[in-house]
Symmetry: C2
């Protein structure tokens, strides 16, 4: 499959929606809504046998009737109609297909697998890459296209993470969590049954995608894991690759087979293979998003010595436990750094590492000077920076935001946690979170875990042994 | 310490704030704001040597000048002034004290420990229970008092969880997370340095508190763990007790000593002791809140056979992995149940357990009938119910909410996950979440973990071996 084909598929100048509809009960309705409301700036050609206006746009009775070039065809017609429609796509010179239609390899009846094989053959003949079948589609956020049946995906932020998933449900789960937590995406792609576009093809394409810094995979089971690992090895040092592997148990295996037609395989073998391929394995949806967020905007962690700065002692203690539990170390401050901290904080507080910045509540400038002292310390590789709102420290977030806006780009990761009631620090924290290198996560535990994953990723990038 | 004293402390008819202030830079300002803005309906007596109006309320130069009975005194004056002030509290017949002042056993200098010992002696002489010193205070939500320096705590929901914490920062972290996630609290208490009110005293009091169903402990380190365990054993079968233990490493131990003056002790020993005492140990802030939420509103899990119902296959697969990984089992549906499901779903979907309810997207009634079929099945003990928004299933949340409002109280736990973009299902899900027995958590993994913790708690309640 040629790279240009993927360019045309993911950044099309024109899109035909085959099965477009004005009827809420059809997926073709929601696909049209996604394109129109998502502000897609190319041409849209709804295809529907009735030939009426759809979403206010002139439609055509068939793809052949469209008098213009069509880059992408989104197919949302019943399964039995797919082969002739796909044939028509080939004849029309379509560059790529999103096949939303279900009822292929994933169903119990053997006709499904046969139908998928026919689809694969037609696509092969025309050199047509297919996302799907049995997919919700894809979004390309920097380009501005929402080619899915979920218009709300257009609200996601653009950013450096590409999510490639075997499950559309997982993309919806992650996408909505990401909206809350400010994770920005380059692309979200639901592979579905993978007629001819599978994880390796996506990795090869994303390796060259300038918008993508981190590739996050959600894998249930695939037919050729070896091919995936080979491609991933080639990406080492080029892009960060994460994977969340589901379908770990026997039952899960069954479910996976029915879902997208592939056996999940032995989980232990998967774990080893992922590690050898330089892919960082994570263990939950939240860990995937947190780690992707950190990798997409933070500098790498060059050593394992972490400073824990906390405006309250308890959360600092929790983070310190994790730092040590995750194979990182609490940094030892240099005498100079310790002196700088001791000038700011009275002996009332813990001033070694973890640092309890409590006494500086009323003075955001002091909090910022402690952060700066620790960032200057050659013996500190990364900082966990924890701040819980407490009325008396109301101006803290503003002070940190102003500091972050003034200072040059961070050379060390700072992963922060700000906890506050709605309506208090929201805006300030949102702004900080957008600063290159400054990452905000919801709890001290999750901040520490993401820091540990920066370290694991560094080790994987170096030699494949975490 | 007599129980009535605690009643007067936590549900006082009148409160004196010693160190009340109109100056934002003093904690006495924020305490006054908490009482006034929090809508406390009892009498408030600000005490300040200047004798001016404070927060619009007549103040007194000293506690002795107040011409009325004072149940609770909140002390926020410098540490050196605390002993005479406490003496005055005793003379005035105050029933209980919240001592916000810091600078006692937690500081490096030995004067701190000496001062705390003097405080303890004075309190002993007058039979005065002290929350603190070095605390942010407490809230009693069903009673309607916010006796802390954080006015925003008044926004928390009232509910069945009492949080007793050695760290005020942890209460702030948890409290703000809980606001987002709809966890309701009876009381939140920051124990601080525990002059004479420690975990065992709080457990004894909360054991009899009709507002409290679940007691959640955040423990760093305590002097008499044995006493805590003895009291906890006495609560078995009466209240659910959870604990999150911080200060696990050597460094953590140091930090804990400085923070609230106690060694954290060996973590492994702690784990065994908690289990034997019937206390369920959790491993993160989010797990503490999720589990407390489930225990406070859900029926117990009477067996380990779980049904996974998911509107999308992927999240169902993730939940199934966890069910098996956490020592639960995927339920086998009875032939009758399977028949009921097969009548609703076409063979397109996985209809055994996990159930992929995808084909029922357009029909909330069908989703509800599947849920009902599974709840009716004698071979199913609990249900994980996962629904990701997808435009086409827009009306799903409304349908489920209406069903939950009609049906009688649940006899089995249903732990749900609804993922959606802001502004879509918020209101419906919020309402469902308030239905007795129906618990909503943010991800399939966290829903499954909470379900597993319901099971662990049942085992602990029975015989102490999880």
């Amino acid at each position: 499959m040629k790279r240009e084909r993927f360019e045309d598929l993911f950044s099309p100048r024109s899109v035909a929606v085959i099965g477009a509809s004005n009827n809420f009960g059809k997926l073709g309705y929601h696909v049209m809504k996604s394109l129109v409301k998502g502000g897609y700036s190319g041409e849209i050609y709804p295809i529907n046998p009735k030939g009426e206006e759809i979403w206010g746009i002139r439609s055509y009775r068939s793809l052949g009737e469209v008098p213009h070039r069509v880059d992408l065809a989104i197919i949302a017609v019943p399964a039995a109609l797919v082969p002739p429609v796909l044939e028509e796509c080939g004849q029309k010179g379509v560059k790529g297909v999103v096949m939303i239609t279900a009822g292929f390899r994933e169903i119990e009846a053997s006709e499904g697998a046969e139908l998928q094989e026919r689809v694969r053959e037609i696509a092969e003949r025309w050199g047509l890459p297919i996302i799907g079948p049995n997919t919700f589609g894809f979004v390309n956020l920097p380009f501005g296209i929402n080619a899915t049946f979920t218009p709300e995906f257009s609200r996601m932020e653009a950013g450096g993470v590409a999510l490639v998933s075997q499950s559309g449900g997982f993309c919806h789960l992650s996408g909505f969590l990401a909206m809350e937590q400010g994770v920005g995406f380059s692309k979200v792609v639901g592979l579905g049954n993978r007629a001819n576009v599978d994880f390796p093809e996506m990795l090869e394409y994303l390796a060259e995608d300038p918008d993508t810094r981190v590739i996050a995979l959600y894998i249930e089971g695939i037919d050729e894991p070896r091919r995936l690992m080979e491609v991933a090895k080639g990406l080492r040092g080029k892009k960060f690759v994460l994977a969340y592997k589901a379908g770990r148990s026997e039952k899960g295996d069954d479910a996976s087979r029915f879902h997208t037609g592939s056996l999940a395989g032995n989980y232990r073998i998967w774990q080893g293979a992922l590690r050898q391929a330089g892919i960082l394995e994570v263990d939950s949806t939240e860990e995937l998003l947190d780690t992707a967020k950190a990798l997409s905007s933070s500098p790498l962690l060059h050593g394992r010595r972490i400073a824990v700065l906390s405006s309250q002692a308890g959360p600092g203690l929790i983070a310190s436990d994790r730092v040590e539990g995750e194979g990182l170390e609490l940094a030892r401050f240099s005498p100079q750094t310790q002196r700088r901290i001791n000038e700011i904080l009275p002996p009332l507080a813990i001033r070694s590492n973890p640092v309890d910045m409590g006494p500086a509540w009323y003075d955001p400038g002091a909090i910022v000077r402690i952060l700066e002292a620790v960032l200057d310390d050659e013996g500190t590789d990364g900082v966990l920076f924890l701040n819980m709102f407490a009325s008396a420290n109301l101006r803290l977030a503003q002070g940190v935001r102003e500091y972050m806006e003034k200072r040059e780009e961070l050379r060390k990761p700072v992963i922060a946690c700000f906890a506050f009631p709605p309506g208090v620090w929201d805006e300030e924290v949102r702004k900080m979170d957008r600063r290159k290198g400054f990452v905000v996560l919801p709890t001290p535990e999750r901040a520490a875990k993401a820091m540990a994953n920066l370290w694991r990723m560094k080790l994987l990038m170096e030699d494949g042994s975490p």
